[in-house]
């Protein structure tokens, strides 16, 4: 095979990762044009069209809408239905279950803007959720509207739009609770100016939180009941998960390359099989019980292992993704806690992998890794 020293195509995109509403502008425009359903106030699309945008389909005018979420439609329907009600939406799940991805696309479809975003961290201050001050102006003019620096939440309320909060449970509890008034009363008081922001219809909040870290700063029960919780499941079948990994590898990695690089279908399938089997503690044919390592082994991790392997093969190998490019990534992903996971991994490798004839190359590659 010709040595494909592929390099990043400098003309492909201007920024590393443009927001969803830019990438899928033509799909959104086509949906707006063909949408005959009832649109709630400030919504750019009817709820039915939002579902089509997320789940994919073909419009009457022939425009093909790509599937943003591969999985059960009921998850997306529950999310959309929540945004139609008074309550905010909490997407809960283990890492790599497309929480952020779904939140971004929902915001893009509903408000046409997915960039109103607050990243939850343990250092987040209340001002980031409400508003802060331009101190130079504050000192010069005193507390006036012009000296106020609005937060993304403030903006979303004013415009009747969707605001996203990533990793809600990482935010300290007392700061989290400042959302209660915003979500229940739909107002944001500004006592310094003796005014308040009243949210327009269409304002709502999509938060994501990690199942595994749930205990970090668990929501207070008062805040919890302002949210409807939708749990994002792990992909239910091998086929579904392989599809997800393929789509994302194509979109995230291969598209940035100048040359046409074939999708490593077989390697993706084997990798996803390994991850699923270890994650579920059972072989795909349900015949054998396995020990489960502590790692999450989600589809997102499979994607990064593939991308890493592809990069290795492109820059250091012959351009074809081989078992040897994959093996270090698999090992790294599976063994998170060396004391406990190493044995589990070796047992899997020496029983399940070894037993599969067509996996001989992968088994050999993994055996060399130690």
């Amino acid at each position: 095979m010709a040595n494909k020293k592929a390099v990043l195509d400098p003309s492909s995109t201007h920024v590393l990762r443009p927001p969803a509403e830019d990438v899928f502008r033509h799909e959104l425009d086509a949906l707006v044009a063909s949408d005959k359903g009832y649109r709630p106030p400030q919504w750019r699309l009817s709820p039915g069209a939002v579902r089509t945008y997320l789940m994919g389909g073909t419009l009457a005018d022939g425009t093909i809408i790509s599937a943003k979420y591969i999985g059960q439609p009921r998850i997306i329907e529950a999310a959309i239905a929540t945004l139609l009600t008074d309550r905010a939406l909490l997407l809960l799940g283990v890492p790599g279950t497309a929480k952020t991805w779904v939140a971004e696309h929902l915001a893009a479809a509903i408000s046409g803007n997915s960039t109103r975003l607050i990243q939850g961290t343990s250092g987040l201050a209340e001002e980031s959720l409400r508003y802060s001050w331009n101190y130079a102006r504050l000192l010069q003019d005193g507390p006036v509207q012009e000296a106020l620096v609005p937060s993304p939440v403030y903006h979303a309320m004013e415009q009747g739009a969707i605001i996203r909060v990533e990793e809600l449970t990482r935010i300290p509890s007392d700061v989290q609770d400042s959302l209660i008034t915003i979500l229940s009363e739909k107002i944001l008081p500004v006592p310094e100016l003796n005014t308040r922001v009243q949210a327009l219809p269409g304002f709502n909040l999509i938060a994501t939180a990690n199942d595994r870290d749930r205990g970090i700063n668990d929501l207070s029960s008062a805040l919890r009941r302002r949210f409807n919780t939708v749990v994002m499941p792990m992909p239910s079948s091998l086929k579904e998960e392989v599809q997800i990994v393929q789509d994302r590898v194509r979109a995230d990695f291969l598209h940035t390359m100048k040359e046409e690089i074939p999708l490593p279908v077989r390697e993706i399938e084997r990798l996803v099989t390994v991850f699923r089997e270890l994650r579920q503690g059972r072989t795909e044919d349900q015949q054998e019980k396995l020990k489960r390592p502590s790692a999450t082994l989600s589809a997102a991790e499979a994607i990064s292992v593939i991308n890493q392997g592809l990069a290795m093969s492109l820059y250091f190998g012959d351009g074809t993704l081989s078992a040897h490019d994959l093996a270090p990534g698999i090992r790294q992903a599976v063994i998170k806690d060396p004391a406990a996971d190493t044995e589990i991994w070796q047992e899997y490798r020496d029983t399940v992998m070894k037993g599969r004839k067509e996996w001989a190359d992968l088994y050999e590659a993994c055996r060399l890794e130690f």
Partner: protein, 737 residues
């Protein structure tokens, strides 16, 4: 024929709450003077009793043949079943209600359709066409959740005509014959001079009952082809669970509780469902604030809108409750789903209703086994049976069969076993009201006790995952004189033995089998198969035992020693010395490994000593290894607990053991003492008072008097307590006697 008579056909869906409301409205409006319902004509006798206020649905109309045991039809009715409401309406208006379908005595003789050749479900065709994968849901959305609009009847009739045109029914002789019989009944009641005849039937039959399209003479010839065998009919109580799981005539429904709600609360289903769900969740100790209920209703409605439905269905309700009340935790809803979807409503039948065949069989058998007095006594009755006597053997078989039917009227004393090699069984009998209800329900499985016991046991065996209960039932079947059942159970076990990975289950399965093959009085007809099965079990156990001894939880570790003892007893019975040696080798290896649970390690050490596998020296060496140095306190005390639980003699008569334990206890640092104490205390509480006293004395002797103070526990021996205390009590409180 009376041409002025008016006849209307109401196509319904069996157990459809929407159909039921629609039908009731139509009947009230039109006031028929005769109602024909789709029910086999030989069920008329039971149908005539429907006005009895003691009959509370869910019920099943039972048609059976006294001459052909094993054949019976159950027609279930819920309070939301259209036929039930139509029949109750008729009795309240004093107009006749007639069972118009082909008698079951004929239907049962017609050849069954072979499943593979079954016609495609006609409704499924339309449902698929309209984008539904599930026919039930399609019908529910279009015809059951809508308001009771009478105008829908002609619409349904029209739809059915279209569907019937697409279907080729000519190859379905049963359908042809049933509809011919129904038409004949309709003509008959016209001829009798009724003016307004309401015909209530499954929607699919509507086009087939259009009298204009069929010839009376041909119909007559068709139904006379087969003669009905004699049948009888009665009512039996039914449950929503039966309704949800049984199929057959008039079929069941997947979600009775949900239909019940749809029927009772019409437009406000969503609110009622959510309120009930919140209550059920709270009953399971979940916090569900009242404000969550309206939020759930709102979300369910939003979901219904998104899915183009006029009202949320069960799926939407559950998804909404999941997001709003259960915080996305599906297990919350799974626990209550049974109650929410199926429900636990049970029907009632008054004493005035004729007995079911199974009840009759039961009472006949009770009489011939001379147990009638025992049945009528509310107190406990002690019964000693000599199985060589005919009536006694009969009684024994009856009681064992009842146990298989989950009706433990009699309980075997002396640890549930027959005294080995004797022909005696000692029972304690006490009839409970609950058993009457269970007997009625058991009628579902057969018309006679052996038949019902056979079918029910096979059903349970097929549903159960574990093998051990099946093996227990097999043993029971031999005592209950059900050779066919035990043969089938042996087959089931044989099929499972290869799959099972649970060694404890395999060991539990082995014991009853060993019993029946080695000294059951009635040698099983399947002796050879059982011996093969035992062989297979032994292999599986031997192969899996080593790994199953490691990595056990506390509970498993407590259970294991008893199982292993039993296993060696079983092998002793099988006279399989070779295998026994293998097993002991596995135990010896396991006890030295690190992964073994200390409790199990202790118990095994004692076992090896008792069985003579270990010499006293070997045992003591092992003991020292476990306790000397600075062992982990929890581990060491758990080990001691395993070693000493239930083995007082060992401690008292093995001076080496005594010393080692004594030295270890004395050396426990004060800080760890409180952690270790509960485990040790648990170990010794099982000992008899005598042993405890002896231990105390031993301690006193070896430690020297004065260094330890021993308070003698004030515990009365059982015998003393039972005889002396009542006398003392009477003596002190004479007035209260």
């Amino acid at each position: 024929m009376n041409l002025s008579s008016d006849l209307r056909i109401f196509g319904i869906r069996h157990h459809g709450p929407g159909s039921a409301r629609r039908l009731l409205e139509a009947l009230h409006h039109w006031k028929p003077d005769c109602i024909l319902i789709e029910c086999p004509a030989d069920g008329q006798a039971a149908l005539d009793l429907i006005g009895d206020p003691g009959l509370v649905p869910p019920l099943a109309l039972l048609i059976y043949s006294p001459q052909r045991p094993g054949n019976a039809a159950h027609l279930p009715f819920a309070r939301f079943s259209p036929e039930w409401l139509a029949a109750r309406y008729a009795t309240s208006r004093k107009v006749p209600v007639i069972a118009m379908d082909l008698p079951w005595g004929i239907q049962d003789q017609l050849p069954d359709q072979i499943p593979g050749q079954r016609r495609k479900d006609p409704f499924a065709i339309v449902a698929t066409h309209m984008g539904y994968t599930d026919t039930e849901r399609w019908w529910e959305y279009y015809f059951e959740q809508v308001h009771g609009d009478e105008d829908l009847f002609p619409a349904i009739a029209g739809l059915m005509s279209e569907i019937r045109n697409e279907m080729d029914d000519a190859d379905d002789p049963e359908l042809q014959m049933r509809e011919a019989w129904m038409r004949r009944t309709m003509r008959e009641y016209q001829a009798r001079g009724y003016q307004r005849i309401a015909v209530v039937c499954g929607a699919y039959h509507v086009p087939g009952l259009n009298l204009k399209d069929f010839d009376a003479v041909t119909d007559q010839a068709l139904v006379q082809q087969v003669a009905a065998f004699p049948t009888a009919s009665t009512w039996v109580p039914w449950t929503y669970h039966n309704l949800a799981t049984q199929s057959g005539y008039g079929a069941g429904v997947l979600s009775p509780a949900w239909y019940d709600l749809l029927f009772e609360h019409r437009d406000r289903t969503t609110i009622h469902w959510m309120t009930r769900t919140a209550q059920l969740l709270r009953s399971k100790d979940h916090t569900v604030p009242p404000a969550s209920v309206p939020a759930s209703v709102e979300m369910a409605e939003a979901l219904a809108t998104l899915r183009n439905m006029h009202q949320p269905g069960f799926v939407e309700l559950e998804e909404a409750a999941l997001a709003t009340m259960a915080h996305g935790d599906l297990s919350w809803l799974e626990v209550i789903r049974d109650k929410n979807l199926i429900g636990d409503r049970m029907g009632k039948v008054p004493d005035t209703i004729p007995q079911t065949p199974l009840q009759e069989d039961f009472h006949t058998t009770v009489r011939s086994a001379r147990l009638k007095r025992a049945l009528e006594t509310p107190e406990k009755v002690l019964l000693d049976l000599d199985l060589r006597k005919k009536t006694n053997a009969l009684a024994s078989i009856l009681l064992h069969r009842l146990i298989l039917l989950n009706l433990p009227w009699g309980v075997l004393r002396s640890a549930g076993d027959r005294v080995k090699g004797s022909f005696r069984e000692r029972w304690t009998l006490q009839w409970k009201k609950l058993f009457g209800m269970r007997l009625l329900e058991a009628g579902l499985w057969g018309l006679t006790l052996p038949e019902a016991a056979h079918r029910y046991t096979i059903h349970r065996a097929e549903e159960t995952v574990d093998m051990a209960p099946v093996s227990q039932w097999l043993r029971e079947c031999l005592s209950a004189d059900l050779p066919h059942t035990s043969a089938r159970l042996a087959q089931i076990l044989m099929a499972r033995v290869a799959e099972s990975v649970d060694i404890l289950d395999l060991m539990k399965t082995l014991t009853p089998l060993v019993y029946v093959t080695q000294y059951g009085e009635r040698k099983p007809a399947v002796q050879e198969e059982l011996l093969t099965l035992i062989d297979r079990l032994m292999i599986r156990i031997r192969v899996g035992l080593a790994s199953s001894l490691l990595g056990l939880s506390d509970e498993q570790a407590m259970e294991m020693p008893g199982r292993i003892r039993q296993l060696t007893v079983d092998m002793q019975l099988l006279k399989d010395q070779e295998e026994k040696k293998n097993i002991f080798q596995i135990l010896v290896n396991a006890i030295e490994s690190d992964g073994i649970h200390p409790y199990l390690g202790g118990a095994l050490a004692r076992f090896l000593l008792e069985e003579g596998i270990w010499t006293s020296d070997q045992f003591v060496r092992h003991l020292r290894e476990q306790l000397q140095g600075e062992p982990d306190m929890m581990k060491a005390s758990s080990w001691c607990s395993g070693l000493l639980t239930g083995s007082e003699a060992l401690l008292l008569h093995q001076p080496d053991l005594w010393q080692a334990i004594d030295a270890w206890v004395a050396a426990i640092p004060e800080a760890s003492f409180t952690t270790v104490l509960p485990i040790l205390r648990r170990t010794f509480t099982g000992y008899s008072v005598g042993s405890k006293r002896q231990i105390a004395i031993l301690i006193k002797q070896r430690r020297g008097a004065g260094s330890t103070r021993i308070s003698e526990p004030f515990i009365l021996e059982d015998a003393f307590r039972d005889t002396v205390l009542p006398v003392l009590h009477r003596w002190i409180f004479p007035s209260k006697v």
